[in-house]
């Protein structure tokens, strides 16, 4: 005996249910590190500040999500750069040292405090960026060498 074959109305109903079920599922949220925050060459005892609008030095994190969706951005910021033989260079990220660019255009940013979570709306084209500046102050006798640390950006959909 052949198993019952779904009728056309049954298929239509099933398709409607499946599509209805798929609708609430959001497209994938993609976050990628595009550019490091680069302080360049530091001199001992001299603070060096990189602006969030610096096209070469500022850090950039790219977010791809459906246009006009609300996302919450949380940055995990290091307090220092780590260098040779345990040497460190203090970092600071004052309020306003980060910017949200809805269309990923560096000169069209909304400043925000990177030390606390912030909620933004993804731009019309579904691609926005976080630009990050900051200040590094090498101690006067900091040993020469390369210093670095990791900045992590976590982006989540806001339930609305």
């Amino acid at each position: 005996m052949r198993p019952p074959t779904p009728t056309s109305p049954t298929l239509a109903l099933l398709a409607a249910v499946l599509l209805a079920g798929a609708a609430p599922a959001r497209a994938q949220l993609q976050v990628s590190g595009e550019r490091d925050l680069d302080f360049g060459e530091l001199l001992g005892g001299v603070p060096t500040t990189i602006s969030r609008t610096d096209p070469l030095g500022s850090g950039q994190i790219l977010i791809r999500a459906p246009r006009n969706t609300q996302v919450e951005v949380t940055l995990l910021l290091p307090t220092e750069l780590a260098g040779p033989a345990g040497a460190t260079v203090p970092l600071s990220f004052p309020p306003g040292s980060a910017g949200w660019a809805p269309w990923s255009i560096i000169w069209l940013q909304q400043a925000f405090d990177p030390n606390v979570p912030n909620t933004f709306q993804v731009g019309f084209f579904g691609q926005s960026s976080i630009y990050l500046g900051g200040t590094a102050t090498a101690p006067p006798q900091a040993p020469a060498g390369t210093y670095s640390n990791t900045i992590t950006a976590t982006v989540a959909y806001v339930n609305n």
């Binding site: 298929l11 599922a25 060459e41 001199l43 994190i61 260079v89 006798q141 640390n149 900045i151 982006v155």
Partner: protein, 168 residues
């Protein structure tokens, strides 16, 4: 049969959509910098007036063989600030005796090596100049004026040079 395939396709699609969805994501970038060599200052020669005769002032120009010399090393061609702070007004001698010492506007100099004075400056005011290939020499002269009746003996005082990067 065709309906079964359609049903299978719809079922697969239903499972595929939630799998692609992601409510949170994270990425990292690096914060990075290159720290240049720190400044070091080394005293090379004392400012030595030698034997002086009571009542006769003795002057030494910056760069003279017995003038004071400091050697500075640091980052490539970075600009540095040269600051002698408060210069001594007297040299201290035996039994509390003192001998006046003075520094005129051109009594300090700097240059790329230990024998070349490329420019002079007022040691009381300090100056800014650039390192040359990570090096700089600072020269110091001055004038001592022994009194007509000056207690014999050795006289000395400290001169301190402070060097810092300006950030330029």
């Amino acid at each position: 049969m065709r309906n079964n395939r359609l049903l299978l396709a719809l079922t697969a699609a239903a499972f595929a959509v939630p799998a692609a969805a992601s409510a949170q994501n994270a990425a990292t970038i690096q914060a990075q910098a290159v720290v240049l060599d720190p400044i070091t200052v080394t005293a090379v020669n004392n400012l030595d007036f030698g034997d002086v005769i009571p009542g006769f002032p003795v002057s030494i120009a910056p760069g003279d063989a017995t003038g004071g010399v400091f050697q500075i090393s640091g980052g490539t061609t970075a600009e540095v600030d040269l600051d002698f702070g408060t210069l001594p007004g007297v040299l201290n001698g035996p039994s509390g005796a003192t001998m006046p010492i003075g520094f005129a506007a051109g009594d300090a100099g700097y240059g790329p090596n230990s024998t070349t004075v490329a420019g002079t400056f007022d040691p009381g005011a300090g100056t800014q100049t650039n390192l040359s290939s990570g090096a700089l020499f600072v020269f110091l002269g001055g004038t001592v004026t022994p009194a007509a009746v000056q207690t014999p003996g050795s006289y000395s005082a400290d001169v301190t040079l402070t060097v810092t990067y300006t950030g330029n």
